[in-house]
Symmetry: C2
Subunit: 294 residues, 2 copies
């Protein structure tokens, strides 16, 4: 199958699952389901669940079993975007070309919608783990949980928000990126492999791949914030500069940054060599990420 | 052992565990550990983990195994208090006699500290489940997760916050209470029993006990908001009236409410009869809750 079709097939399966996971029940708290679905179903690229399924497929075919775990990654990602957009955080009015959650539903509901999505990720993961009765399922969930917490995504956001933590070198910036966006990209790949029963070397190798890709992806984001248009990006451009944010481009020129993206992408692809041809979709996925709309 | 000593012993074990669960690492995001510990270690009554251990002990003695699960309940409870206190929610400046989390650390950190505590609850629960390798551990975690989500605690907070949802009867109020505070009190008890391997009838019976106790506890809270002092309660009194909140006392007099507390407590205790003398501490716990500081 061509990569494009493979990717499209995965996104369709993921979108179908996500479309029904939060049932809009007719009860007094129904507003929360609307708010959760508003952000969850607003056209995300579904990269994290696709990474998860891509890694899982290296070892096992029955992706139906993996789907709840893969989609829990998207729910955690979505909750983090809702909370990051809040006035007390980045104060962003738009996300993916639509009003951000708190602009649409109010701050209280947005906070609770984020909480609800985070909690729901574990509800569906645990439900799937009970069905599978497999220790790998619990280990996969634990990997997801660790990457989402204060030693992962939340920790990165803390550093990013904290004016007292001054990022003064590219190494410090890379550390922050490794937590804020890198950790759950990495766990998408490694948890997929863990669920499928990969061995330690395979998991470690896939972790290296994902770390490199995650960094390339973040640098790309920094470049897009300068070179893209609001229409293409779905959110305000130039916001990093306006907020005096330290980004990769604080330390490197756009050309240098683009070369680094290529370098990290190549290194990521090289690390997959132990899998041979089986890794074709993960290789194409790495290339796809560096060809995003400029 | 006398109930008082039993209770104190449990609280000590819980406090010891909670005191070390969030390690204040020397890293760039260390502020988050301080903020999480500030609320987690601010003298809560530890009722939810005590309920958990009390139910667990009906069936098994090795409460060390149960401790991470019991304490995950306290972390979920604490995160909910941090988020409920936020300006966009109840806008409370004090909690347990201290500044609320956002007054002390700022809103962004308070939101992230809440997120961090919720996530950490699952991190420690999953870690313990991996060690135990028991399906009951996963089922207990799933019970905890369900009670914390949009069909439980979060759902209750949504109803409580949503001005468009008009609570116009005592039944509607009871439904909101059953979600907002009742659900995780119930799951503290039932998840403790599930982890210990209780059968379905035992779990159902304990669920009834916890539901009645949860309601009595909430009515007591409504009374205390009127009759207590700020010093004793550790937070502003009269806030329900000031915020025009619908409470149990909107529908009943204080005397009627006190009688209902007694009635629900008695019913809760009666439901434990199948356990005979084994349930002595859960019975005493029910009585203890209705004897709180007026």
């Amino acid at each position: 199958m061509e990569f494009k079709n493979w990717f499209k097939e995965k996104v369709n399966i993921i979108d179908e699952y996500l479309g029904q996971v939060i049932e809009a029940k007719e009860n007094p708290q129904k507003k929360i389901y609307e708010a959760m679905n508003y952000s969850l179903l607003s056209g995300g690229k579904r990269l994290r669940p696709v990474f998860f399924l891509g890694a899982y497929e290296l070892f096992k075919d029955d992706i139906k079993e993996a789907l709840p775990f893969a989609c829990s990654m998207e729910m955690i990602h979505t909750y983090s975007l809702i909370h990051d957009d809040l006035p007390a955080m980045d104060n962003d009015d738009y996300r993916r070309g639509k009003l951000s959650n708190h602009k649409k539903f109010g701050e209280a509901t947005a906070i609770l919608a984020g909480d609800g999505l985070l909690n729901k990720a574990y509800e569906i993961g645990l439900e799937a783990a009970i069905k599978l009765r497999s220790i790998n399922a619990i280990k996969a969930l634990k990997t997801i949980a660790d990457s989402s917490g204060t030693e992962g995504m939340i920790g990165g956001q803390v550093i990013d928000m904290d004016c007292e933590v001054k990022i003064s070198s590219i190494e410090e910036l890379k550390h922050m990126y490794a937590l804020k966006t890198g950790a759950i990209i990495k766990s998408s790949v490694t948890a997929g492999a863990i669920l499928a029963g990969a061995n330690e070397e395979e998991i470690r190798t896939l972790g290296t791949y994902a770390q490199k890709i995650g960094l390339a992806f973040q640098i790309e984001d920094d470049i897009l914030d300068i070179t893209s248009t609001q229409e293409k990006l779905g959110k305000a451009i130039g916001s990093d500069a306006a907020n005096n944010k330290i980004t990769y481009l604080t330390f490197k020129s756009i050309d240098e940054a683009k070369k680094d993206i290529e370098k990290f992408t190549e290194e990521a692809i090289e690390s997959l060599s132990i899998f041979g041809d089986r890794a074709i979709y993960l290789i194409e996925l790495a290339k796809y990420l560096t060809r995003r709309e400029k």
